[in-house]
């Protein structure tokens, strides 16, 4: 089932299917019990389950912002300053603006194996960065600058080489 779900790539061959009759214009819903219908359409609920969990935390924050957080240690601050109240709404506005541009442009469903790989690689990169910072704090500033300039130079040379190679491969491929 799980591996089946992975295989959304177009390389999967479909069994031959009966074509729908062209005359039929609209689908008429079948008469069936509510339970069997909801059982059949369960995956549709699961597909948006993540967002309903985010909305749960959003509802909590809404009530928080409306003033119902009487338990909070920051109750005084909430009533006295507006920043605490407004910040959720402002950020939500910003998020909606960003996602209006991204919807129908980015895929919703990630390729998860690769995304897990990339998460691991990000963690590894972060570790390396921290190590680098630890080392850097022991070295005086001038040498850090020189090291950075050396790295940049090396990068430039490498990039040129890689570019040349790719051009070569593309050229040979064309031939």
């Amino acid at each position: 089932m799980r591996s089946d779900r992975l295989a959304t790539s177009p390389s999967v061959s479909l069994p031959s299917q009966p074509k729908p009759e062209p005359g039929r214009e609209t689908r008429k819903p079948k008469q069936s019990s509510w339970l069997s219908r909801s059982g059949k359409n369960q995956p549709q609920w699961n597909a948006v389950g993540a967002s309903s969990f985010v909305f749960l935390s959003g509802g909590m924050s809404l009530a928080w912002g409306a003033g119902f957080a009487a338990h909070s240690r920051h109750r005084e601050r909430l009533t006295r300053t507006q920043h605490m109240q407004i910040c959720w709404f402002g950020a939500a506005l910003l998020g909606a603006m960003v996602s209006a541009v991204l919807t129908h442009r980015t895929p919703q469903r990630p390729l998860y194996v690769s995304s897990i790989l990339s998460i691991i690689s990000i963690f590894a990169a972060k570790q390396i960065l921290e190590l680098g910072l630890c080392v850097a704090s022991t070295i005086p500033k001038k040498s850090i600058l020189s090291i950075i300039s050396i790295i940049f130079a090396a990068n430039k040379i490498l990039a040129k080489k890689v570019l040349k190679k790719t051009y070569k491969t593309i050229d040979s491929g064309m031939q």
């Binding site: 729908p20 309903s52 509802g59 119902f68 919703q108 469903r109």
Partner: protein, 407 residues
Amino acid sequence: MECNKSIYRTNTKAANLSLGIRFIASLTQLLSLQIFSCCLVLVCGILFLALPEQPDAIIAARYLDGFANGLIFVPTMSTLGELSVCEMRGVLAASVEQFSYNFGILILLFYTSIWNCDWNATLVADQVHGLLSILYGVVGLGLALTLCVESPVYLLLRHNEQAAVMALRHLQRPSMVTCETFLQLDEHKRYVVAHRDLSWHRSIQRSLVPLLKLSVHRALCVLSLTPLVWSAVTAAAVKLTPQYHTWPYAVFGLLRWLGCSCVVFLMDSAGRKKPSLFGTFAGGAFAIVFATLFETTPHLISALSILLSFQFFSGVAHAASAVYLTEAFPLRLKPYCVALIFAIEQLLRIGLSLFTPTNQQIVIYFYTLGGISMAFFLLGIFCLPETKLTTLAQAHNKIRTWFNEDF
């Protein structure tokens, strides 16, 4: 022979190159909005749990949570109608949006009232918020990583028909390609073809009327839970019991959630129009009654009970607004229009939380709220369409006309 070898070598190089490109492409897919906002909620929970004493950390956590909500709201609401079959669309949209928001409100009010009962717990109440947020983040992340399905309309817009069939297959159980799948695909294709050829100014023209109708409906939804309503609750309850932070809060949240959950599962049988009209009428009447009681009588217990039942009817009235939001707009402008409605809601909330109200202002607020609800009820009889058991295109056509004959 040599020529063959060199071709082989270049082929492997090209293969390596394409592998690298694929890896970079998969890195960009980390930016999947669902996963990103679940991670944001998770970080928000951690901040709440770890630093409950520092106001800066709480502000940062609230920023993150709001950003996550805004990010996920638009794609969810614009693809919900495409994911579901038409006889489940109402239940799905209403339960994902309104039901979840109201349940979140219930949870916060519930643990607030428990924590105010002089219960000496070692956990600060903000830390409970953090724990719950972490839980939501983790569960949501799990769901987004495993069970999330791409919208078939998105795939059809990219001319990827085979993947669309696969997505449709995963959206119904048992997950097999049947005749029904192809009928659904046909319907989506007709929808995409009808809406892809619309020019920009045609689609803007088509989305103006739904924008107006929905912004009023959603604004009413916002007005039913504001700092003003909170101060009305406390002003009515503070003279009744010394522990006014306890049971009125729990009943408030419970009634709001109950009102919503009563109608959410009727969205596809009773329809969208009847519950919202009934709810707005009853809610408006209760708001006016509350305003008169609050202004005149010293019997604040009746005012409080009227206010609590007002919450019940506002839960009833606004369950359908989420359903209308998913099906109102033309395909090309859908995300922008949904984002605009959401932005209007947030601006209204910001505007209402900018001042601290007096008792007189509360009375005026409830009179206006009742008046707007009544006006919406009267206009809604003619203007709100009944869109149960229709396809997305038909529903859009019903909403975009000024007057409907669905009585």
